[in-house]
Symmetry: C2
Subunit: 140 residues, 2 copies
DNA sequence: TATATACCCGACTAAAATAGTCAAGTTTTT
DNA sequence: AAAAACTTGACTATTTTAGTCGGGTATATA
């Protein structure tokens, strides 16, 4: 049960932007250097963030990305959603007719995993980007 | 961010035992049939459960497995632990000197992921096996 | 207007994790 | 003796992950 690096890097990069941007665009190159994330990988990540309206881009020289919402308003759940990182701890789809075991009835544990998903999601919903910056003595 | 099937099946199988055992051993064959889980896979899972003292085995004919603790006392976190399913949402080890990015300082998001882990773990700690059996109308 | 900077985008791939199987046992009850 | 059921390690196909690559396009500035 671990988060993938894409989601992790996305949160990291956006946190970086929140720290360093003074309303002007932050280039991926800078984020890459500061946070030690591959530039090519960041591009892939920001493509999704842009498509999902988490950031907007400024092209050309001195270009980069800008946060659409303020760190105070941007929920972590929004970020994860942008990266298709569904918090679905099991395979069994809520809407699908098929349950996890291929049968038509729900398995004995179904409700429990549902509860778990809700529990985790509510955490991500409750946290905003700005919450990451509270105690940042430990930042590089 | 999903749970692996081993953990899922483990919880499922133990819940099955809690429902069907009347103090006598439950064979993996029966669990396999009732829950639709591969017998061979169950064997692998129960090996770990046994090593971690979640179940004990009774060999020979009419043998099977028995829960060591009562469903009222068996925490879900114990089950997951037995299957090495650490709830460590990121790679960065708490004790290791190395942080997620290979640097010696903790990254900007470190504390947040720690909080997340605690949040999830506390859920698994708070839930007992018996909690899964509450509303089991939906059981097969 | 040349050019460097930086975003854009799809396709590709190596490596790791997962999910599950197989073979060859051992133990115990009937 | 035979059958049921646990024991164990090794093996493998598939999927997912974590990235890379190549070839773009847009724009500020010199
Ligand atoms: S039926 Fe939904 S988790 Fe098994
Ligand atoms: S340093 Fe621990 S998560 Fe990055």
């Amino acid at each position: 049960m671990k988060l993938n690096t894409k989601s992790r890097y996305a949160v990291m990069a956006l946190a970086d932007m929140a720290v360093f941007s003074c309303d002007n665009a932050v280039s991926l190159r800078d984020i890459s250097l500061r946070q030690g994330i591959s530039l090519l990988y960041l591009e892939q990540i920001f493509l999704k963030l842009k498509k999902n309206n988490i950031v907007k881009s400024v092209r050309g020289i001195n270009g980069g990305y800008i946060l659409v919402k303020s760190p105070k308003e941007l929920k972590i759940s929004d970020i994860l959603l942008a990266l298709d990182q569904k918090v679905k701890t099991i395979g069994c789809k809520k809407d699908s007719k098929k349950s996890c075991n291929g049968k038509s009835t729900k398995c004995i544990t179904h409700n429990f995993w549902d509860e778990l998903d809700i529990h985790i999601n509510s955490f991500f919903e409750s946290k905003k980007l700005i919450d990451l910056l509270k105690h940042r003595e430990a930042r590089l």
